[in-house]
Symmetry: D2
Subunit: 336 residues, 4 copies
């Protein structure tokens, strides 16, 4: 099988497409033939060597979808032919996160999905939503589930809430879609009027160009009649937190997401304190939460927004495309 | 002003339309000119004398909408011209219910809204949703808020959940609408195929005629792939609980509602125990919850379903119409 | 190894002590040398054949503690010498219960712990609290964890709450201890003044003899100044629910527990509705919840109350002792 | 009556003791004869003019206890002779905070309790716990309730959790006491070994001198076996947040408290994100939460720790004493 890997150095240009033996599923394991993968900013960070020590050789990427082609002894949860997504954290089955489950991530501490076949414990994968193609489903494990957990699991979003999403990357677009499905209002920000127009087409109720309105936190508050938004899906990190604090209502919720925002930010503790804000760090979610998200995707016939496809051997170009920030929604790799 | 009241006996035919002085708002109070009221089964029970001792003379009905026409000293929350609904429990402002707040209900232990003017503390009323007429808004205080609290406040409904609503009365239709706004699936039951057709038009995904399918609990479970529904809005009481227990998934939620289901029911404790079910008694909600509901109604442009209007002096006929069970949605009284 | 089993008939007197081969741990499994088991009413029901079809031959009992003596390939969670309890539901690791995890119970749909050695997946067992003997620890998996989940996980008990516990069986005594550790007040009921005296020694603040005070629900309410109790740990089933409904405060919580209360009860829906009560079925808990409970047991140096010990070969006598209802706390079997 | 006030300038030395008329309770109001007040750091900030524009003349202090001496028309909640505490936010009755209720605080936007008599709406005060003296009770409205809300309301503390409290000021000592009452473990920090010794006497399980161990976050983690603490009661602000982030477990909770930490802090977003931390701003709590706290204080016979008493006319000295940081627990003013 074909595998994309890094061996002894980091960087997009160091990715090598090599041939390896197809793995065999052990006891309780399934073998998945991966059809599509999708990219996250985290993959850029990992491939660039910003994430510290990794397995060597290292297979990147976390998000994919494929078909079960073989099951090991004792497997009851899946059968050959089932369409599945690997779990981002394959040992996080349900309940709150623990250090143990967060320490085992595909395309991170574990090898990832940039390969034609992968073996996983049967408990570490989920059926894809019935209404999605495998290309669409490949966008769910990290980006989709992060947005779901931020708003639904940790945010307890309800109809009538207002959600602010930053930019038009993968997580933000999913957050927009899940928020609208839940009956909420959405305010989207971007530096591009064209992208804001697309966000409106996807359901955004209000938009703010943060280039022309750098004090977008105040503007968001104005758009809620002075009350402030209920939820901010904070993906920008150091450069945006200050405005997010301005935008958020008393007792409101800021979901802090994003592997690239590793640098420190200036936190106005007065705002957190006096407005009784809640800031919650979010990294993806559990297998059980994936399955809840799938039910919502099916019930509302939601479809992930795909920016473009690249063939497997052009994965480096796909990463460069994402890095350039021109995309809206997800960049998909066609593995097979 | 005109007032509808009972003096020394109970029964629809004992309602008298009398003339009284218009009240004056005291310190912190507002005077509301009521325009429309709407009916609930509870009003039948109250007027028929099933609810025990009431104020005498007694003014029935709890749900209405009108316009603030005068404010007392110290009022800051409203001004003349504001369109408002009285709160069902006017002293339940926020937080969980207490014995104290539940003991003070309009058209129950307190005089109600079957009158042209009412004085209330400013904290005991809410602005109506901007997208609604006053007739539509008059259906919210009991029926709308009960459905909202059942699904959103106590049920933590999320997109992809399945909700079972029983029949096509006021609370059930609101539950259907709120569930769809929240991205959930809805299974509606009725004894009338025609009403089920109307429920489908309002968004129900599945319907069950409980006359032709008396084991509708099992059928509801089948319609969820054997899993069971996440929420039952239980309005039927003694006659339906058994099937509701059958319909509900492991760890699922039965919202127990309804003033007429005062008789005992046979509770299969084995089902509650082995499926880890949650049964929660619900009686309406707080002013803060009303305001959350209003935001959801505005954000999703929801409109209450009105069955028909009756003039104030025909309130007795309106009650008889509801008692006959022919309605779908709410019966509205035009007060002024 | 010695194994206690039923082969083709039900009843305490049909239990046979037989010799079997010691199992070998497979991939990801641990082999536990069981030292003590403890009894629950559920075991009486199972052995008597009230629980429907079971594995044949059937090894009863769910609660035990022992020592890991061998680990299979791939085991990282335990090592030889670790002191552990098998999980009652060995596949319920974390999060809310599902039909799948509830359908796999030791000494129920799965063979149990009435044997000298058992193999389990490494994820299906937990370290015992450091402050307990193995005999004490053997009482935790069902009785301890049920009380913990009822009050802490589902009940969100907080300091100052009032908890009513019924009788002095295993779950009730654990509930008393956990409630006191959480800073709550406890009202205990029993038909025996002697047992009530013992309950006081364990920390009960108030006691009610339900023989001399059959309307104990009203009395419990009186003892809370008319407010009602926050939590009832309802183990009695059909015979007690009525009084529990009387005892519980507005918005209060009744944890419905108990495998023997399989018969129906009369449920006063008026009480559930008008007091906004919550009734929650509880069956044991997850591995993660067991570990939280263990931390609480260690932090507060709690010790399970053991009524008496029986040798393994006298398990039938132990069951008869429990059936006679003379015990206070847990009946322990010394396996090895 | 005697009143302590600022007129046209800020500073401890600008406080004037003046004579004013005793107020009269209006409709729905109670008149309280205040007996004791207690000090918070916030009072230093307010009196020093750091809190922006205040009422002029301005009566400082928020925490007090006294006796109802007269009730206005329509008062049902209290009678003369009742012992009560004014609510810090007198219009925050129950439920989550809103901008409206947070904008009305005693000794802040409203005049405070540094006076012999105060009139409040009957809904804006609570009975004091029965087991406390009025001096003890005077410490509850801000300091006690902040600690309660941080750990119990927002933190859902449970037995076996580990709580880190910083220093030995009023909130921290209350947090220590409430955590122990809830069955949790406590780690206390201080720069004084003597104060740490006193913290141990109050129940602290572990102590860290942050002068000799400046990396106390790592040390706290070590004391939990590497897991991290469940809750940090963060009162230090800018200078301590970094270590608090190090101390807190995956999915753990940092309660951000404190009016003096108004300056910005460096927030390591990587830590918040990768450990899925929750940071929650807390400012005091509601009347309903005060009453829950009182039940806990009574049930566990907790007594606030009083550092010392000052007479009313020496309030300036008392403030200076607190500012010097020599106290452990609360500084009380004897008003009458």
């Amino acid at each position: 099988m074909r595998v994309l890997q890094l061996t002894d150095d980091y960087g997009i240009d160091k990715l090598q497409l090599v041939e390896q033996d197809r793995p065999k599923p052990g006891h309780g394991e399934i073998l998945i033939a991966l059809k599509h993968a999708s990219l996250n900013y985290r993959d850029l960070a990992t491939i660039s060597g910003f994430m510290g020590k990794l397995p060597a050789p290292f297979i990147p990427l976390s998000d994919a979808a494929g078909e079960v082609v073989e099951v090991g002894e004792g497997v009851t949860r899946f059968k050959a032919g089932d369409k599945v997504c690997p779990g981002f954290f394959p040992t996080w089955l349900s309940g709150p996160p623990t250090q143990a489950v967060l320490s085992r991530a595909l395309g991170g501490s574990l090898n990832g999905v940039a390969c034609e076949y992968i073996c996983l414990p049967q408990t570490g994968a989920s059926l894809v939503p019935k209404n999605l193609s495998l290309a669409e489903a490949s966008t769910l494990p990290c980006a989709g589930l992060t947005a779901w957990r931020a708003l639904v699991v940790e945010g307890d979003i309800k109809a009538g809430d207002t959600v602010l999403v930053q930019g038009t990357g993968g997580v933000s677009i999913f957050a927009l879609q899940f928020a609208k499905a839940a009956g909420a209002r959405v305010i989207a920000t971007s530096s591009s009027d064209e992208k804001l127009e697309q966000a409106r087409k996807l359901g955004a109720d209000e938009t703010i160009n943060y280039k022309s309105t750098p004090k977008w936190g105040k503007e968001a508050r104005r758009l809620t009649g002075g009350l402030g938004v209920d939820h901010v899906v904070e993906v920008g990190g150091a450069g945006t937190l200050e405005e997010s604090l301005q935008a958020t209502r008393v007792n409101g919720h800021i979901a802090m997401i994003g592997i690239l925002s590793g640098l420190s930010s200036n936190l106005s503790m007065a705002a957190v304190f006096s407005n009784n804000l809640r800031i919650k760090g979010i990294s993806v979610g559990s297998i059980a939460q994936f399955e809840e998200m799938s039910r919502a995707i099916e019930a509302n016939d939601l479809h992930p927004v795909i920016d473009c496809h690249f063939p497997f051997e052009k994965t480096g170009d796909a990463l460069a495309h994402m890095q350039a920030g021109k995309h809206l929604g997800k960049v998909v790799i066609d593995i097979a």
